[in-house]
Symmetry: C2
Subunit: 354 residues, 2 copies
C-alpha cells in the first residue's frame, strides 16, 4: 500500500572512487554495479515502488545528467541544482520545492548510489519512519545495525527509545578508527548512518534555518528568483551556497534527531571497488573475477575485464578495472585514493577521461 | 675489418615471458624493446655489421617467422627448423649446413633477443674468439663479468689461462641460489653464460656426436633427406630430435670448453619485464613509465601504457603492460611466471592471444 510521502533521490554525485567506470558524464549511480543488472539509481527507484506511487518520486541532480535520469527513471520529477554543493543544499532545494506544493509534505531522502539487499525490510522501516515524521517534529535517520567494524561509515549512537524501532539520537560520529569501530560494534548502541532520511520538508527547512542560516537565505532567495523566472540570477545565488553535508551541517547539531533501526538489511554504500567486490561471489582464493581474465597464483584480487583480456600473475589484494579507454590498478587497501586519479586527470586537462 | 666467420643468429624463440607484447606470430626478438628503437634481432645483426659482411649472416628460425626475418634482417640467409627443439638442434642444423659449404667454417652463435650496450667491446672479444676457434679445437663461450649476484643467469667458472682473455672452462653452473650467486660474484672466477658461442662448425658437430649421438644421427639423416628433396620425411626425422639446450646437452660435458672474458659490456638477456625496465631511466620513486599513465603514491612500478591510459594508485613493485588486446599485471618478483599465462591461454584455446 502506498503511503503519503515523497521520495527524493539524491543523484548529483560524481562517484570518482569508481573511476574508470564512473565518469562525470555517467557517474556511479548510472552504472549497473549491483548483481541485479540494474543501474544503482534504477534499483533505488524500483525498491520503493511498493511504497510510493511514481508521481511522488523526485530526483535531485543537475542539467548535465537530466537525460540519463530520464532514461533510467523516466517517471521521476527532476530537480536540477545549478551547481554541486553537497547534500545540505540538495536536500534544502528539494524541501523548499516540496513545501511549496504541500506544506505538510513528508520526504524520504535516498542516495541514488547505494545498494540494499532486503527491500521489504527497508520499506517496512521507511513506513514506520514516515509515520513518526508525519506526526512529530523530528529528523529521522535510517540506522543500519553494524555487522563489522567498518571504518568507512559514519556512526550514530542511539539514546532513549521513542517508539517501535525508533530511538532518540544521542550523537552522530564521523568515520572512526578501527579501534573505535570495534568498540561501537561491541556496544550494540551504534548504527551505521545510511544517508537515508525521513522528515517533513518543513522540519528540515527549520533545522537548516537554525543551523545553516546562510544556506537558508540562499534557498529562499533562489526559490523567489526562480518563481520570477530570473534563472540566471537564481543560479548565481545558489552558487553562493556553502558546500556542506546535511549530516555535518544540520543533523549533528539538531536536538530532535531520531534514528530508526533498520537491522541488517544488506545495505552498502558501494563506496569503493573493494566494497563493490564484497557484494559478489569469490573463488576459493578470494578472487572476484568478471569478464575475460586469467588469474594465476593470486589471492583476493578484483578483476573486471569486460573490454579486453586481463592476466594477473602472483597478485595479492589487487583491484584491476578496465573501462575500455582507461585502466586502474590499485591495491584493495588504497581504493579510497582512486579519486586522486580523477583529480590528477583534471589537473592535466584530460576531460575525456574524467 | 671483416673476419672470416659466419654469424648464426638464433631466432626461433617464443619469448613467452614478454607476453602480452611477445606473441607467437611476433615474438620478443622482433619487438623494439631496447632504447635504440630497433627490434632486438635487428640490433643483434647491426651490432656485428663491422665484424662480418652481410652475406655471412644466418638466422635459424622457422617457416612462420620467415617473413618477419626478411623484414627485420633482409640480408640474412634463413634456416628454418621444422619444429622448435631448443638450442642444441638449432645450432646443429646451422653447423651441418655451414660445414657442407665450408668444412673449416667458424661460426659465431648469437641469441636474437639479447641486448649489448658496448658493441665495440663485444666485437673485439668476438674477433679474439674467432682467432682462437679457427686454429684450435675448442668451444668458446663468451663470458660476461658479473656486476650483481644475478640468479637468472647460468655461470661459468674459469680454469687456467689459455691466451689473452681466454680461459679453459672449469665448469658450467646452472642458475644459482642468491647465496651461491653472491659467492660466485665475490670469487672473481665466474662469468655469466651469455649464450654467445664461437667455434668451428665441425668442432661443435663433433661435440654433438660425442655427447648427443641421437641428435647427431637426426641431423645427418635430416641433411641427407633434405638434399634428396624429401622434405616431409626430413621434417619427420627432425621432429624426433630431443629438445635440449647446447649448454646442458653438450658444453657442460665437453672437455675443450673455453670461456672468453667480455668484461662488463652492458649485456642483458632481456629475460623479463623486470630486467627490461632496468635498462631504462626511472623516476625518483623507482617507477619506469612509458606512454599515457597516471602513477600515484607508487614505487618501483613498471607501466607500459602505449594503448590506453593506465592509472596505478598505491602500487608497489608492480609490472603493468598493455598490448592493446591484452593486459598483464604482475609483481616484479613474479615476472618469470608470466609464461604461465601463455600456457593457460594455450590450454583454453585462445590462440589469438598467444
Amino acid at each position: 500500500m502506498s503511503i503519503s510521502a515523497k521520495v527524493v533521490i539524491l543523484a548529483g554525485g560524481q562517484g570518482s572512487r569508481f573511476w574508470p567506470m564512473s565518469r562525470s558524464k555517467k557517474p556511479k549511480q548510472f552504472l549497473s554495479l549491483g548483481s541485479s543488472g540494474k543501474s544503482l539509481i534504477r534499483a533505488t527507484a524500483d525498491r520503493v515502488a511498493t511504497l510510493v506511487s511514481e508521481e511522488n518520486v523526485w530526483v535531485v541532480s543537475n542539467e548535465q545528467l537530466k537525460p540519463l535520469i530520464a532514461e533510467h527513471v523516466p517517471w521521476a520529477h527532476v530537480l536540477c541544482e545549478p551547481c554541486a554543493r553537497n547534500t545540505a543544499p540538495s536536500i534544502g532545494l528539494a524541501a523548499i520545492e516540496l513545501v511549496s506544493k504541500d506544506p505538510k509534505a513528508v520526504m524520504i531522502v535516498l542516495p541514488a548510489d547505494h545498494s540494499v539487499a532486503n527491500e521489504d525490510a527497508l520499506n517496512e522501516v521507511l513506513r514506520e519512519a514516515v509515520q513518526i515524521a508525519s506526526t512529530q517534529d523530528v529528523l529521522v535517520t535510517v540506522g543500519i545495525t553494524p555487522t563489522q567494524p567498518n571504518t568507512g561509515y559514519g556512526y550514530i549512537k542511539r539514546g532513549g527509545l521513542l517508539s517501535g524501532k525508533a530511538f532518540r539520537v544521542n550523537r552522530f560520529f564521523e568515520k572512526p578508527s578501527l579501534e573505535r569501530a570495534i568498540k561501537y560494534l561491541e556496544s550494540g548502541d551504534f548504527y551505521w548512518n545510511s544517508g537515508m532520511f525521513v522528515w517533513r520538508a518543513s522540519e528540515i527547512l527549520r533545522a537548516i534555518r537554525d543551523n545553516l542560516p546562510d544556506l537558508y537565505r540562499v534557498l529562499e532567495e533562489y526559490q523567489l528568483l526562480s518563481v520570477q523566472g530570473k534563472n540566471e540570477e537564481a543560479q548565481a545565488v545558489f552558487a553562493k551556497a556553502e558546500s556542506i553535508s546535511i549530516d555535518f551541517g544540520v543533523l549533528e547539531h539538531a536536538k530532535n534527531g531520531v534514528v530508526i533501526e533498520a537491522g541488517n538489511i544488506g545495505w552498502s554504500d558501494v563506496g569503493s571497488w573493494d566494497q563493490w567486490a564484497a557484494e559478489f561471489k569469490h573463488d576459493k582464493r578470494g578472487n572476484h573475477i568478471q569478464g575475460d581474465a586469467v588469474v594465476i597464483d593470486s589471492e583476493n584480487c578484483v578483476v573486471n575485464a569486460v573490454h579486453r583480456m586481463i592476466a594477473v600473475v602472483g597478485g595479492q589484494d589487487l583491484v584491476v578495472v578496465d573501462s575500455g579507454d582507461a585502466l586502474l590498478v590499485c591495491p584493495r587497501g588504497r581504493v579510497q585514493d582512486v579519486r586522486k586519479v580523477v583529480e590528477e586527470l583534471k589537473a592535466r586537462g584530460r576531460s575525456e577521461l574524467i
